[in-house]
């Protein structure tokens, strides 16, 4: 148990996190674009992409909420060892990890304030499949229209209506990753 938690980090953290960040940034700047990130390996059921996101962005300054099946003793030990991120509830987190069903309802996460809209959570949503097809997206980062396989429901429209407050989403599936910032309109 303990030794398992020590594995799965970046072998060359400076370079691997730089490469992973570039992919995450490209995804956030171009909603609908599917990136590939590898290098991190967290205990099941966490995907390689979600592990890389946590290794790249989380540290002692960012509370992490593990939702549902992702809140395991093995995962908690892995997060503590590799990132020192404090594990917390949804109300105080900077990042949250889980499936769409486990993360809802979204109103319990920090949405930022009108003066500081950046003080909002980023949700890492593990999905079963991820393709640049599905619901239609428009907004910053998209020349005309883009598509992304997103969960059904009114959450994204409600989130966009809060702009400039709101949540940002990173969708992960295996080594694949896509993002949906609050600025995107989901049709």
């Amino acid at each position: 148990m303990q030794s398992a938690a020590l594995k799965g980090g970046f072998e060359t953290p400076a370079v691997q996190s730089a490469v992973a960040f570039r992919e995450i940034m490209t995804a956030m700047a171009r909603p609908g674009h599917v990136s590939h990130v590898t290098g991190g390996e967290a205990p099941a059921p966490v995907s390689a992409a979600a592990a890389a996101v946590i290794l790249t962005l989380c540290d002692a300054d960012t509370g992490l909420y593990l939702a549902g099946a992702y809140d395991t003793e093995a995962m908690r030990a892995w997060v503590r060892f590799h990132t020192s991120a404090p594990l917390c509830g949804p109300e105080a987190c900077s990042f949250a990890l889980g499936t769409w069903d486990d993360l809802r309802p979204l109103g319990r996460f920090p949405l930022g304030s009108a003066a500081y809209p950046d003080r909002s959570a980023t949700l890492i949503v593990e999905v079963a499949h991820l393709q640049p097809q599905g619901r239609t997206l428009t907004g910053p980062g998209i020349q005309d229209r883009a598509e992304l396989s997103l969960p059904a429901g009114p959450e994204f429209a409600d989130n966009h209506a809060l702009f400039p407050r709101g949540l940002d989403f990173i969708f992960t599936c295996g080594a694949q990753l896509a993002a949906l910032p609050r600025s995107t309109r989901v049709l």
């Binding site: 996190s17 730089a18 960040f21 940034m25 490209t26 956030m28 700047a29 962005l57 020349q143 609050r182």
Partner: protein, 286 residues
């Protein structure tokens, strides 16, 4: 490899900057506060841009650095050397070859592509700062989308000069929400900001990062009867003959002699290599 961590900054700092960049991209035009570090160069020399570039670079990158359009000035040369030493990245002076371009006060003439990133060095990120010195108040004004003061400033320009006299750092509105300082680029460059590349802005002394995703709507503020005009000196380049590029005025003697040349040195050199000739060369040949 040098004895520095990759791209100079420690990992904790880079994570903090990277989180700020992501929030900046998610809220285009909003200035994200970040814990700017002391860099081995003075404030005003691009400490904000350098930190953003350091957090963005990957080993395969090819970096171009320009200062007012030029690759060969002190600021550009020293920042390029800094990243050659600390990140072992390739460098170039050619716009098309670069994957990351750090810039002080210009946007390259050549249109940028989707796979490129433009990093701006920003001295004063707050467009309202010279109208309202208190951060508590400007923050409230952004929160309430209260930008009347900026229009009053542009109106006073018209009342005093007959036209909007602001010629650089010309305020823009992003996606109909945030008024943003485009950094002190000439207003000639403002229309180029709706581009295919990712644009990141770093202000080191003022501790702010902001960003524009590709194809973000960028509108220069104006009035119906005084529309925005991307002006430049009404001359062709004296060296390459280009008529559509932004020009620098160069004093050539103490008898009033002067010439206008492209501010973008790579653009001008590429054109001259292709055989384009300006007025200076034709005079010499004659």
């Amino acid at each position: 490899m040098s004895d520095y961590n990759f791209a100079y900054l420690d990992e904790q700092t880079k994570r903090m900057i990277r989180r700020a960049i992501l929030k900046g991209l998610a809220i285009p035009g909003y200035q994200v506060p970040f814990a700017s570090r002391e860099m081995p160069m003075p404030y005003g020399w691009g400490t904000g841009g350098v930190q953003v570039t350091a957090a963005t670079l990957v080993p395969d990158d090819c970096l171009k650095v320009i200062d007012q359009g030029a690759d060969d000035t002190t600021n550009a040369v020293s920042i390029r050397k800094f990243f050659e030493n600390t990140a072992s990245v390739g460098t170039t002076t050619q716009t098309a070859e670069a994957s990351v371009i750090q810039t002080r006060h210009r946007i390259p003439e050549e249109a940028l592509r989707e796979d490129q990133i433009l990093v701006y060095q920003v001295p004063i990120p707050e467009p309202l700062r010279f109208l309202e010195p208190r951060e508590t108040e400007t923050r409230k004004m952004h929160a309430l989308e209260e930008y009347g003061l900026m229009h009053v400033k542009l109106y006073e320009d018209i009342a005093r000069h007959g036209h909007i006299a602001t010629s650089y750092a010309y305020p823009v509105k992003i996606e109909d929400r945030y008024v943003m300082d485009p950094s002190p680029i000439p207003k000639f460059d403002n229309p180029k900001m709706e581009m295919a590349a990712i644009q990141l802005f770093g202000a080191g002394r003022e501790q702010r990062i902001y960003a524009l995703p590709p194809y973000t709507k960028v509108v220069s503020l104006d009035f119906d009867d005084h529309p925005f005009e991307a002006s430049k000196a009404p001359h062709p380049c004296a060296l390459c003959g280009a008529t559509g590029s932004y020009l620098d005025e160069v004093i050539t003697d103490d008898a009033g002699g002067r010439m206008f040349v492209c501010s973008d040195t790579d653009y001008c050199e590429t054109r001259r290599a292709q055989g384009h000739v300006g007025a200076t060369q034709t005079e010499e040949a004659a």
